[in-house]
């Protein structure tokens, strides 16, 4: 099983018919492949597109049609184009229903760091802060630990925080956490993952939901 696609598929289950959805770079981009055919969602790209479609074939490439990751895209029927100020007015004004974002760290309160690494020159922020601040619901999708095996869910952020706003849901290759008033709550385990493994690989404290269950998402 491709774990990244598992994470994306689990995230796609959060989407509802009619949602306006902004997908970050990385795992979030994969969510588009897992949207159930029974619902219709509209992908917003902060560089000025509502109604992003799938990646084009090589012979359909349009140099003036890219997403916020600067990757070639297509558009669906009913799409529209707008300038950057209008696009971020939509985001900040709460008109984007769900943003699905990548993340470097998540703290015990559900706040995230996803734009800068300490020790490196901080020369890029892009739209990360705007999306986190403005979207009605924010889901983060991430591997549970870093490439070096370090937990990404930590007691306190050591990377620069992206926003004081907490995310709503955290989906990793191992588990799903809801962000509640009092902190993180473990609500699901990925298929084949034990509670012990999650405990071992999570630095941030979390409560365990009474309804904790293993989800049945497969890819």
């Amino acid at each position: 099983m491709n774990v990244k696609h598992y994470i994306a598929a689990r995230a796609a289950k959060e989407l509802k018919n009619g949602d306006i959805v902004n997908l970050g770079i990385g795992i979030p981009t994969l969510v588009a492949d897992h949207i159930p055919p029974s619902i219709r969602v509209f992908l917003h790209s902060e560089n000025g597109i509502l109604g992003v479609g799938p990646s084009p074939d090589q012979d359909q490439l349009d140099p003036e049609l890219v997403n916020a990751g600067k990757k070639p895209v297509t558009i669906k029927e009913g799409s529209s184009f707008f300038d950057s100020a209008s696009s971020f007015a939509m985001i900040r004004g709460g008109h984007v229903t769900v943003s699905i974002l990548g993340v470097l760290q998540i703290d015990a309160k559900g706040r995230i760091a996803n734009w800068a690494v300490p020790g490196k020159s901080v020369l890029g922020v892009g739209g990360a802060m705007d999306l986190l601040e403005g979207s009605k619901k924010v889901i983060v999708t991430t591997m549970h630990v870093t490439d070096k095996g370090e937990p990404k869910l930590v007691k306190e952020l050591t990377y620069p925080m992206t926003s004081e706003r907490k995310v709503d849901l955290i989906i990793t290759d191992l588990a799903v956490f809801a962000v509640e008033e009092d902190g993180l709550q473990l609500i699901e385990l990925a298929p084949g993952i034990s509670l012990d493994e999650v405990r071992q690989k999570t630095d941030a404290p979390f409560r365990i939901a009474e309804s904790l269950r293993t989800n049945e998402v497969t890819v």
């Binding site: 560089n47 003036e64 707008f82 300038d83 900040r92 020369l123 922020v125 892009g126 705007d130």
Partner: protein, 218 residues
Amino acid sequence: MNKLISYEEAVKKIKSGSRIMVGGFGLVGCPLGLVEALAKANVKDLEIISNNLGEPGRGLGMLVRQKQVKKAIGSYFTSNPEVVQAYQEKELEVELIPQGTMSEAIRAGGAGLGGFYTPVSVGTKIAENKEERILNGKKYVLQEPIKADFALIKAKKADQLGNLIYSKSARNFNPIMATAAEVVIAEVEDVVEVGQLSPEEIVTPHLYVDYIVVKGGN
């Protein structure tokens, strides 16, 4: 009132030390011909306001490689490693602004506002030197407007008066930059007769556009 000029005439207007907005999201919607002309000109110490600084040696990356840029104001420079390098070698100052705050600040510059309160970046490293204020129970930071001496923008078509329309996601920062600079120069694919663009579809009315350069022309 003829606004059509050549790349050469356009670039002659720009002096060293100028503050210049350049449209585009990466290379998409960037007026590449104007940037190339600027790279050939003997101007330096430029202050560039643009979302990115191109790619290594491409687009605005040309100006970085040639050390023509003194300061860059934008949201995402890490896509060009030469920018990071120039910054580390203290050859380039960088002012980083969240993309939405940047686009709103440019719009505010063009719209004659003194500043605005945005909730974005509150409590983060980016807001360290900004005024924070609670309005109706929510925290905001004050952002000042951004203006420039020149805006170099890219459009799909102009009519001979200077009305502009754009193409797809190449629209991005171009329409707002057209409002926020003393002198606005648009690089376009095509110039059509007045009356050929519908009054409903014009995105940038001609009052914002000072000069037009036709892509590939000269």
